[in-house]
Amino acid sequence: MRFLIAFVCISLSLSLAPASLFAAETVKDTVSKKEPEVKVESELEKKLRFVASMLRCPVCQGESVYDSHADVAVEMKRLIREKIEAGETAEEILTYFKDRYGNFVLMEPPAEGLHWVIWVFPIFMALLGGLFLFQNLRTGAKDLQQTKLDDFDGQETTDDNSSEVSDIKELRL
């Protein structure tokens, strides 16, 4: 059962991963080589963005390390750059920070321990909502069969024409 849930989670998260993350890596390699002064983002910088976007800036607490201008984030970026140059993979670098800062430093809870809850919850919600709908519409359709449709043919009005102004007059009578 657990494997099944994990599988669903992983396939969902893979299929839904924002394109911008990957799109960024294929951006504009097509700069012409005739103009030597044109700067292109280096492969290193792309990898840096990939890793640093998955880490949360420890002091600003809402931004990713990549987007933050805070001192710690700047130093973390420098360290990540060195680690990429030394040939470490994204996973190794993320683990390095996780081992020192805890899961707090990751932008989303890791797929381990209890944290599958937050991934399964939306699916659970969807199922519950669907069940509610099915239930509601089924009883509703039954009602309809018992009622003659032409009862309320034509204009769309409500049965509840009660108005407070008229009600108060009636109450006083």
């Binding site: 969902l12 998260s13 839904l16 991963a17 924002p18 394109a19 799109a23 960024a24 951006v27 504009k28 700069v31 002064e37 044109v38 700067k39 292109v40 983002e41 910088e45 963005r49 600003c60 607490q61 809402g62 931004e63 990713s64 987007d67 201008h69 700047v74 899961n103 430093v105 932008m107 989303e108 809870p109 209890l114 937050i118 991934w119 919850f121 939306p122 919600m125 909502g129 509610f132 509601n136 519409l137 509703g140 359709a141 009602d143 309809l144 309320f152 769309e156 409500t158 049965d159 509840d160 024409n161 009660s162 108005s163 407070e164 102004v165 008229s166 009600d167 108060i168 009636e170 109450l171």
Partner: protein, 665 residues
């Protein structure tokens, strides 16, 4: 002299607390003693409170204007060098003033609501006044005893601290008051919902009144949220406008449930459905507004713009939230069933059921945002572990829900009430659907390789096509019958169905906004490069050349401003000047992005660190279609204005009609 001015403000606010208590008691007594004069007095009380709190707010603003640093709040949030505009907006620069603004809105809206709806809601009025006065008391006690903006210091301080530099920007200057206005305006529908529950009835006027106020609250909240996004985009310098920050999420939750209500109220209006559900949505929307305040102000969640946390204040707001929720939801649980009408949704494909699906999706979205926002807190309380739930999670989970909502936007308004059939659906939607598939395929070959992006683009095409085909069909039929030009036909149709066509305009605006979101989320280009003077970088259709960097001086800051020249393929050129500002008083550095904004997209440049000899790290973004987000917002505003021009229907008294069971009960 100035010292006594702020004392007048304190006096006025204290007096308003006493009047609020008196009004609440009088409104309560009027229920039992049946004395109309009691209720009249309560009404006068509500109007007097509005006047008194206006005086209270004004004394604080005036203290900022005359730079009276003997007022602690003024000294903490302004400075003699601060420009007048920001001295005015400094009222909501921190906790105490923000709450005063909240109270002022609440008092003003209460007075307007009591005055305007006095005649049409005679039976609800005691409950409405009691609820509103109760809410006012809650805020007044908080302001007077826990977060007092009227505190003086003697002798006066020579000069003040500065206003938070992040708030010194026109975008953020007007983001909080608009957002608060949206939050507070939900209190009026809330009061009417309480009245409906207490009376066990929500009649015709209830629908009209709550819808109007919710529409007003919704449009201000939307504007507040988008102003915040606009500010984040211009000021925070990370190239985006929405970060799924807890504070942003807190404002999104009531927006989602409020939007759900604006849709489901139609079913109550037209078909007398969902009465209890609608009351639930109104209550939840207001409760989520309060929850947002609690989350932002108590420091329970940490966030980019978390304000100074104070557990005492947090505990008070939590207590207030508990009291409001227990009363409101308690009434709902106790008496909610009395509102239920005889009908049910009778068909899987009908306007009613489309509204039901819509509501499920919006509420699911709100629950997802709530869960994601509270999850770190829950995990910490349960296991002691600290985790983060940030943008990646919300993007993944919300995307499918949002796609579902867009799909319904195309289907819902075109499906008839009561019952439609698959055959009719086929007639209506085959062409738009074909078009959607075509657009998605074209988008794929143009480079939209992401599945979500492809579906989203196809759906936007679908909604456009379906909506315009429907309007076109109606106009054509009208032209045939009346033999008028298409323009006059359209204006007559729209004039006679302001709400429907206003809704179409709002949907159109939302679509434009969504196009902006799709463009900037999926087709963004980003590059971070170290540049020396003379270096170039290519971003979108632009080539950017770095010229130089120079020091500059502003009124209360110094800055390093870089000059870039942009050049488009067609030969047009111009200059961009991103900078880094240093505010000496608060010792903070802000980065000012420089943006070339066009309908096609924005070229967005931010400075990073300098490395000497003019070399500087530069982040360059090409954000396609971002402007469509703000344009879409304008169209939404227009649509709401158009829908609101419809006059509220006059309630005709029907003397022959028997009072319904509910009234008797």
């Amino acid at each position: 002299m100035s010292g006594s001015l702020i004392e007048i403000g304190l006096g006025a606010t204290s007096l308003s607390l006493i009047i609020a208590i008196a009004s609440m008691v009088l409104a309560f007594l009027s229920l039992y003693r049946g004395a109309p004069s009691f209720l009249h007095s309560a009404r006068h009380g509500m109007i007097l409170i509005a006047v008194l709190t206006t005086i209270g707010c004004f004394t604080i603003i005036w203290s900022f204007v005359i730079k009276d640093f003997s007022v602690l709040y003024v000294a903490q949030n302004s400075n003699s060098q601060l420009p007048l505009l920001y001295r005015l907006t400094a009222l909501w620069g921190a906790h105490e003033g923000s709450l005063m603004l909240w109270l002022w809105y609440l008092a003003t809206f209460s007075a307007i609501a009591v005055y305007v709806h006095w005649k049409s809601h005679p039976l609800s009025m005691p409950y409405v006044i009691m609820t509103l006065a109760g809410l006012q008391i809650g805020f007044m006690v908080f302001i007077l005893f826990l977060s007092n903006p009227f505190i003086e210091v003697h002798p006066a301080l020579p000069d003040g601290r500065d206003l938070n530099p992040l708030l010194q920007d026109p975008g953020l200057a007007f983001h909080p008051p608009t957002l608060y206005m949206g939050y507070v305006a939900f209190s009026i529908p809330f009061a009417f919902a309480i009245a409906a529950l207490a009376r066990g009835q929500s009649g015709r006027e209830w629908v009209v009144t709550t819808r109007r106020w919710t529409l007003f609250a919704w449009v201000t909240l939307t504007s507040g949220i988008l102003l915040g996004g606009y500010w984040a985009y211009y000021e925070l310098g990370w190239g985006g406008y929405w970060a799924w920050d807890p504070v942003e999420n807190a404002s999104l939750m009531p927006w989602l449930t409020g939007t759900a209500f604006l849709h489901s109220i139609m079913a109550q209006d037209q078909r007398n459905l969902f009465q209890t559900w609608n009351v639930f949505l109104v209550i939840t929307t207001f409760a989520l507004s309060l929850l947002g305040t609690f989350l932002v102000r108590s420091g329970v969640l940490t966030s980019v713009h978390s304000f100074a946390a104070d557990p005492g204040r947090g505990a008070y707001i939590l207590g207030f939230l508990v009291v409001v929720s227990v009363i409101a939801y308690g009434l709902l649980v106790w008496r909610g069933h009395r509102l239920i009408g005889p009908h049910k949704v009778s068909s899987l494909i009908s306007r009613e059921s489309a509204l039901l699906y819509n509501n499920l999706l919006f509420v699911a979205a709100a629950i997802i945002v709530l869960t994601g926002t509270l999850y770190p807190l829950a995990i910490e309380v349960l296991t002691g572990e600290r985790v983060s739930v940030a943008a990646p999670y919300f993007n993944k989970v919300m995307a499918p829900v949002m796609l579902g909502i867009v799909l319904l936007m195309g289907l819902g308004p075109l499906i008839p009430w009561r019952k439609s059939s698959y055959k009719k659906m086929q007639q209506q939607f085959t062409i738009p659907f074909g078009l959607a598939v075509l657009i998605a395929v074209v988008a794929y070959f143009l480079g939209a390789t992401d599945v979500i992006a492809m579906i989203a683009i196809g759906l936007v095409g679908f909604v456009f096509a379906a909506t315009f085909m429907d309007i076109f069909g109606a106009v054509k039929a009208h032209m045939k019958v009346t033999e008028r030009s298409w323009f006059s036909s359209l204006s007559i149709l729209a004039g006679n169905n302001q709400r429907r066509y206003g809704g179409f305009i709002v949907h159109l605006g939302t679509l434009v906004l969504i196009i902006g979101v799709i463009g900037s989320a999926f087709f963004k280009e980003e590059a971070t490069v170290n540049m020396k003077p003379g270096d170039q970088v290519v971003s979108g259709p632009y080539t950017l050349t770095y010229k130089t960097i120079v020091p500059q001086k502003g009124p209360n800051y110094t800055e390093r401003m870089a000059f870039f020249e942009w050049k488009k393929q067609d030969g047009t050129t111009g200059t961009l000047t991103p900078s880094k500002r240093n505010y000496p008083v608060t010792q903070t550095v802000t980065t000012e992005a420089s943006i070339l904004s066009t309908l096609v997209g924005d070229l967005y440049v931010v400075l990073g660190n300098e490395h000497g000899k003019g070399e500087v790290t530069t982040r360059v973004f090409w954000n396609p279609l971002v402007n469509w987000v703000w344009i879409g917002w304008m169209i939404v505003l227009l649509g709401v204005l158009f829908a609101m021009t419809k006059r509220a229907p006059k309630i005709v008294s029907t003397p022959n009609k028997k009072p319904t069971e509910e009234v008797m009960a």
